[in-house]
């Protein structure tokens, strides 16, 4: 059954929202969502890579020999990741200092390679962009939401702004690594309840 363009876009926002439904790309999800700003920054960087690599893979899908397709995808993805890294250093250096190693690690984020292999290599460029954009925005929103919960509880701030006032004792467990797992698990549980699974 062929989906419409709009369906390809919106599936990434709920039906196949990466960290919660596909449970993919968890390394950056757990590591960088200490704050909303970090989560959104990482999400936007990943979205850029995802859209660009989907477009290119889709354009070249008839040229790339199937035996070396993974190698070609990795070259394409790695190129765009380096582009993002350089641009972030030039224009958003404080964010780059926060995200550090996780920017180059977008190369091995299985969402990006997964979309290239599972979607872009079989569909035309317009659909591939819609797919990349949808999944990317879904990923960004998930990271933002997770970052929001962790930042509000763990630091008592939202996007750096004070939420509860000075009498609030931050629940620092939430911004540490184990807090990421607990928070992700609870959010998954809520998503499944809401989705009726």
């Amino acid at each position: 059954m062929a989906k419409t363009l709009a369906q390809e876009f919106t599936k990434g926002l709920w039906e196949e929202i990466p960290p919660f439904r596909l449970v993919l790309g968890l390394c950056p999800v757990l590591a960088v969502t200490k704050s909303v700003a970090n989560g959104l920054g990482m999400g936007i960087a990943t979205t850029f890579v995802l859209v660009c690599s989907n477009l290119l893979v889709s354009l070249l899908r008839n040229v790339i020999p199937s035996k070396i397709r993974i190698a070609c995808y990795i070259i394409i993805i790695a190129t765009f990741v380096t582009v993002v890294e350089l641009l972030m250093q030039a224009f958003a250096y404080p964010l780059y200092l926060q995200l550090g190693i996780f920017i180059p690690l977008i190369v091995v984020n299985c969402i990006v390679l997964g979309r290239a292999e599972a979607f872009a290599s079989k569909h035309n460029p317009i659909y591939s962009i819609a797919d990349g954009l949808g999944i990317g925005i879904g990923f960004t929103l998930s990271l933002g939401a997770l970052g929001a919960v962790r930042e509000v509880l763990g630091e008592g701030t939202f996007y750096g702004m004070e939420v509860f006032g000075s009498s609030f004792e931050p629940f620092t467990f939430m911004v540490e690594a184990p807090g990421a797992f607990v928070c992700l698990g609870l959010m998954l549980c809520l998503m499944n309840l809401a989705g009726g699974r």
Partner: protein
């Protein structure tokens, strides 16, 4: 055979395109990245070791050609005269180079202060060097060019506990700073004599 040729061709073209694109972007962002690093990483480090200076050391800098490379020297004005000069050297740490800003009092030839700029050390272990003032303060007042070593290597510097390699890296950087300073001392004097803060 034809397939082989095609595979080689596709990979070659893709890689060269990728290399070209990255080189172009790097060339165009290099200056901006350098100025961002100066502002967000080196800036605070310089400000910290130059505390009490009556000028802005980041603005009052000059560049010298050292071994074919351009190197920045930052000037600090104390008691109405350009007394302190700061520059960066590198020592090899646990996760790559540890950039160290070394400030030297030109009049006495002693170290005015040491501060760490860019590094990739383990968070909570080597990365403590950023905030570990007791460790860095040990270098104050040492004559520049003296062999600085951690106690384990027979020197007089107490290493940060659990982070001997990082401590060694800072010692190496300070030693290198001594070599460099002695090499360019006449040229620094020359620059400072024409200095007008």
């Amino acid at each position: 055979m034809r397939e082989m040729v095609k595979m080689v061709l596709v990979l070659t073209i893709l890689s060269s395109f990728s290399g070209g694109l990255l080189a172009a972007i790097r060339n165009n962002t290099q200056d901006r990245i350098d100025s961002q690093v100066l502002k967000f990483v080196k800036g605070p480090a310089i400000q910290k070791i130059m505390e009490g200076a009556s000028n802005n050391p980041i603005q009052d800098r000059f560049a010298l050609q050292v071994e074919g490379k351009e190197k920045n020297f930052f000037v600090g004005v104390f008691d109405g005269a350009p007394r302190v000069i700061a520059f960066e050297t590198k020592g090899s740490g646990y996760g790559g180079d540890v950039g160290t800003m070394v400030a030297v009092n030109v009049k006495t030839g002693r170290i005015h202060g040491v501060s760490v700029t860019t590094h990739n050390e383990t968070p909570g272990v080597g990365a403590r060097v950023e905030t570990h003032e007791d460790f860095k303060n040990q270098f104050r007042g040492i004559e520049i060019g003296t062999e600085t070593k951690v106690k384990k290597d027979g020197g007089g510097i107490t290493a940060m506990s659990g982070a001997t390699i990082t401590s060694r890296a800072v010692c190496t950087a300070v030693r290198k700073a001594g070599d460099l300073y002695n090499k360019v001392k006449p040229r620094i004097r020359e620059q400072l004599s024409t200095f007008s803060g």
